[in-house]
Amino acid sequence: MFDSKLSRRDFLKTSASAAATLAATQVGPFAGAAHAARDKELNILCWEGYNSAQVLDPFRSSKSATVKAESLTNDPTMINRLRAGEINVWDLINVNNPWARKIMLPEKLIKPLDRAKFEPYFAKMMPQFKPPYKWAMDDSGKDLLGMAQRFGPYSFVVNTDKISRKTAEDQGWDLFNDPKLAGRFGILESDDWNVFGICCIAGFDPYQPHTPEQVAKFEETAKRILKNKKVVGDIATMNQAMISGEIDCHLTGGTYSASPARADGHLNLRGVTPNKGPLAGGKGGIAWIEITSVVNNPHGSPLAEQFLEYVQAPEVAHTVAFAEGTFNPVAQMGNPECFKLFTKDQLEAIQWDSLEEEMARSVEYDIVPDYDKLLDIWNAAKKS
């Protein structure tokens, strides 16, 4: 492919200019903005919901600001985009709990918040978020790294007409090891969460370093589960397949994925947290909490912190909980002013009745030490 006379130096020079071109292409829409005053604009990298007009429009008009939000459904992708140079682009990043303190702060991708200003908000949240909240703090417990809002248990979803909630909770992840379920379940495509799920089905904790035996077991389980599945797809596909009866349950899911169907009246679709399992302390479920942090952007917008305050207001927090896409509990429901905004149907959609016990049975989302290896195995298994 390359002329052998081409020196490595030449090659690097060429590559560098190509990289520059690529970078220029990628940040194109924002390229001119880098040096301009940025007090009237805000760029948010987030999970879907924060990019909705319901959430952003009131903020836009009150600040007469240009707010751009891009939604992704994948934490590592967002973080890698900051790593690849988009730290100059974004002002806020909204990802799951461990990334801020374990990855982004050490890599200087985000910067701490004014603790005096923001910590009081935690006091008004639900009890488990009482300050100092672990996932919002750095390792030393000194710096506040972000704000909590949406959260939820996320293990798997069943159609209670086919599999009772009790059976599902009792059997836990072993449900998927049952040969009788072959061809009757789906897998909600979700990178890291699929890896967690397969670890749990294989019977070990995803968040601990894994022995070669466990890795082998993971591969066997991944292949078996993929062979037995009926369908892999997105949330809409899963809910559609559950409602129509194509499948009885699906791996990777919870209030986040089932809530749109539940809000639509399909209360037989229910996120289930197993009573027990291979996770720390014998727990059976995994829960996620989003932490929104200020990006360490050299030209950061002053609107970033204002936005974080804006979404703490009861009305806005309620809007965030029921923004377009998926519906989720928010930490601000600890504030009666906020809680009273939720209707009975909305509480049913987000499984409020069992939220507390499900959270209690769940460990919190964490980083898998050998994630890349397990993900490669999982992706390869998809093909075979």
Binding site: L22, T77, D191, V231, V232, G233, Q240, L375, K382, K383
Partner: protein
């Protein structure tokens, strides 16, 4: 003409300069970046590392061939099925349906304005358990429909459906290009309707068939939504592999290497076909 000053001396070249720059920036540069990335170490995000062949080694040592096989196989099957389905339809549009051709052409074209994904989700609702087709069959005839959705057959169905216009219209053009007198002459020389078709119309409309096949093949090799939506990811085509590498796996270099591999395979196949069937010769333009 006397002095050769520079390549830009000719007005034509000067006029073409803006579009050449645009093409270079918009088309060549990203392509070069992809090629460049394919030689970077796995899971890196810059082009300034020391080049390596490890991504290509990974591709050839793991089971990527499975997805490549699915992509090429499904694309080939799509082309064959489309050729069989579209030829009669195209023939009808040109020779049989008369005034209704316009209406039919419109019916084939209108769906193109709706996003492919939305149309595919429509088919999901059509085939899903209790959906339009199985529901109707059960209610009216008491027949239970076997599994179709989330099978490779459903993927093939989706691809045939999505790429149908891309085969149909070149084919229609190809058939329309066969002069009427050519068919009359063959008939006058004693050929039956079937012989006219086999000896004259079919060979003379091959350019349309070839262009349609190449177009659909290249598009179908790049198909991804059909396998995701209708196939429920029962199978993973190479394009999905590339997407996984670029997104979930966050392994841009591997994704780039897969993309380069796919480009090479498709280019080679297309070149072989083009060499085998000289379009100019078929069209008699030489």
């Amino acid at each position: 003409m006397i002095e050769k000053t520079s390549v830009l001396a000719q007005p034509g070249r000067r006029a073409a300069l803006p579009i050449m720059v645009l093409l270079a920036l918009g088309f060549v540069a990203p392509l070069l970046a992809v090629v460049g990335f394919s030689f970077m170490p796995a899971r890196t995000f810059g082009l300034w590392h020391e080049p390596t062949l490890e991504n290509y080694e990974t591709i050839f040592s793991d089971n990527t061939y499975v997805s490549l096989f699915w992509s090429l196989g499904l694309a080939s099957a799509t082309v064959v099925l489309l050729a069989l389905i579209c030829y009669p339809v195209a023939y009808g549009l040109v020779r049989v349906f008369g005034r209704w051709s316009t209406v039919l052409t419109l019916l084939f074209t209108i769906p193109l304005v709706v996003s492919e994904n939305i149309r595919l989700y429509g088919w999901v609702l059509f085939f899903i358990k209790g959906g339009v087709l199985p529901g109707t069959l059960r209610t009216l005839f008491g027949v239970e429909m076997g599994d179709f959705l989330f099978t490779p057959a459903a993927v093939l169905f989706g691809m045939v459906y999505v790429y149908l216009p891309f085969m149909l219209f070149p084919m229609t053009l190809g058939i329309a290009m066969v002069p009427n007198q050519m068919r009359e002459a063959a008939r006058d020389l004693g050929a039956t309707r079937w012989q006219v078709f086999r000896e004259v119309e079919l060979p003379l409309s091959t350019p349309g068939l070839m262009i349609g096949s190449l177009l659909t093949f290249v598009l179908a090799v790049g198909a991804i939504a059909e396998a995701k939506v209708l196939g429920g990811q029962r199978i993973i085509p190479i394009t999905h592999d590339i997407e996984i590498a670029f997104t979930y796996a966050q392994n841009w270099p591997l994704g780039a290497a897969l993309a380069v591999l796919l480009m090479l395979v498709v280019s080679v196949l297309v070149l072989i076909v083009l060499r085998r069937f000289d379009l100019d010769q078929i069209l008699g333009k030489r």
